[in-house]
Symmetry: C2
Subunit: 359 residues, 2 copies
């Protein structure tokens, strides 16, 4: 999390505001609501890079015609435990919630199920969808590929997307455990943010236009895979797995063969793939034993001795304090995004919600 | 790969020699053959850390009674796409090949299937089993947990195992693509090897007994997760996913709650879990399109511009030259292991195979 100047808005007001804006930009109500749900969920969970700040980008994609506001989603159950969802170039959020819903329906009977999503678009934080499954008592693995912004191991030019892997796990008596990680060390917008703040980048996370490692955010044009110079073959290997599952298994081209998200004809669909695996715990183990095992794991992990000033945390734990704050005091929207949202609202005559007064 | 002094033995001779030794140590023929198949496969694929060098360790485990040489493997299909395999404390290799076989049988109908393996033991290289699926035209994801040798992010004491993730993918016209990676940067026996050679460890891969980062192999007692000090929460997050799938989903305890593999009562079973997911590509996409997508991905990746003196490779590519050499000139066994195997052979009256003369 980076800190930023913000306004705070209550979650329900923010969600319906965002949905209204997307509807005015051309999204059918179901897509507008799915996208609003996802981005506000990400912001409420302190996943700001993939939260409300993306709304102006989605508005542009709808207006330019890159994203189809009224998609005809077609789901085909191709085997007992496999489904294919053609997203018809619509909003990736609508398609991804639907994919997980279909995955849950299949896994309820079969124990595990996969849904391959084709002809989709940017879906924000992959964790939104695995979390949707976990909130219904199912574990889920989610992945998406994207256009090329990460160099391969030993490579000089971008080839992989940040190709995230998410894993969400239902935990009795608390919020699900959520892993949601790019297979690069940092996301690309960390580079943009550092350009604005003038801070150097950490070592071994980015390269310049010639593929040389750099900590200068103004020189950085692409990312390195998780593991850096020595072990980047591991991050790149995971990125390859994600890319294959999101392309060969969905019918889409691999990430580096997709049209670049920026710089190409803006009305051209991006034709992304996503891949979801849903698991029903009680078809693996009796639920009481499963819950006890998960609880024991988390209790043991969280009580491990830690470096001074830190504590050992489970995936998702670092954001918990911010989540409690955001539940109590509203979801933050950075001032640049807020100005942009208000401008869109004024243009379309959408009422702007009241911000929460600062304490 | 580290280089070492070795003898070379033809693969079939080495495999039957290893099987004979394991049988004499108390393994039933099926388990002896499965373990021999796995370790010789790993060595033939230049995965030496998980190859034939582990045989003396497996012999000890059989002799001490930690591993049951005559297990009664019990497979239960708990749902259309979910199976549970109780390995009865037998050799992990036998259980893992069986698990993948059952996963393939289910996924043939259902498209995707999971097999959770319980009451198992060390199975060597996880990639042996995902590869067995890929050689039959199925993709597979494999995982295993182990006892605590990797510190969690921000932690001081070992909690995770090296908890590997493997992904194998059938590729038309060539060997499957194989990712087989620990979620730590290095395996623990790299530390032992560096103690012997006196070379320092790379930065950010190991810690001393107090949890401080060290490059001194004599001080190193535990590993760091992939990502090092700054991004180790990613390696640790993947390790957590692996541990949960191998424990809560199999019925076993989590890695840190397992008996340590060394230092505890040697006759006590380790009660490990493994987790396999098998996918049938042609129930996702028409096989010709799938194969074309995979081929395009690999061709594009392998032709990417690379740093001087390197080339961009797909997972598994770095070992291909060594594999060709080993096919032509025999599988290498390091001299320490070779002495140990010959000693066991002499003790049990097993004929020692001829080594391949050096060119």
């Amino acid at each position: 999390m980076e800190s930023f100047e913000d306004v705070r808005i209550r979650r329900p007001e923010l969600e319906s505001f965002v949905a209204d804006l997307l509807e005015k930009a051309g999204a059918r109500r179901d897509g507008a609501e799915a996208t609003a749900r996802a981005v506000v969920d990400a912001s409420a969970r302190a996943f700001d890079t993939h939260g409300v700040r993306l709304v102006p980008h989605y508005v542009e994609s709808l207006v330019s015609g890159r994203v189809n506001g009224a998609p005809d989603l077609r789901f085909t159950r191709q085997a007992a435990a496999v489904g294919h969802l053609d997203a018809d170039d619509g909003l990736g959020h609508l398609a991804s919630y639907r994919a997980v819903e279909e995955g849950v329906a299949m896994a309820r009977e079969t124990g595990i199920a996969a849904v391959a999503v084709a002809r989709s678009s940017h879906h924000g934080a992959t964790g939104c969808y695995t979390l949707a499954a976990a909130r219904q008592g199912f574990a889920a693995i989610g992945m998406t590929h994207s256009d090329a912004i990460v160099v391969p191991h030993d490579g000089l030019k971008p080839f992989n997307g940040t190709n995230p892997i998410s894993f969400a796990l239902p935990v009795a008596g608390e919020e699900p455990m959520l892993l949601d990680m790019a297979t690069s060390s940092i996301p690309l917008n960390r580079v943009f943010l550092r350009r604005a703040t003038g801070q150097p980048l950490p070592p071994e996370v980015a390269v310049d236009k010639d593929g040389a490692v750099t900590t200068d955010p103004h020189q950085a044009t692409a990312l390195m895979p998780l593991g850096g110079t020595a072990y980047g073959y591991k991050g790149a290997g995971l990125a390859a797995m994600v890319d294959i599952l999101c392309s060969a298994f969905t019918g889409m081209a691999h990430g580096a063969a997709l049209p670049a998200f920026t710089g190409t004809e803006e009305s051209q669909p991006v034709s992304l793939g996503h891949f979801f695996i849903v698991l029903r715990p009680e078809l693996f183990q009796p639920l009481a034993l499963f819950d006890a095992r998960v609880a024991a794991f988390l209790a043991d992990l969280r009580s491990q001795p830690a470096k001074p000033g830190t504590r050992v945390m489970a995936p998702g734990d670092p954001e918990r304090d911010a989540q409690a704050d955001r539940r109590a005091n509203g979801v933050p929207v950075d001032l640049t995004t807020w100005d942009s949202l208000r401008e869109i609202a004024v243009r379309h005559g959408v009422a702007v919600p009241t911000t929460v007064p600062k304490a």
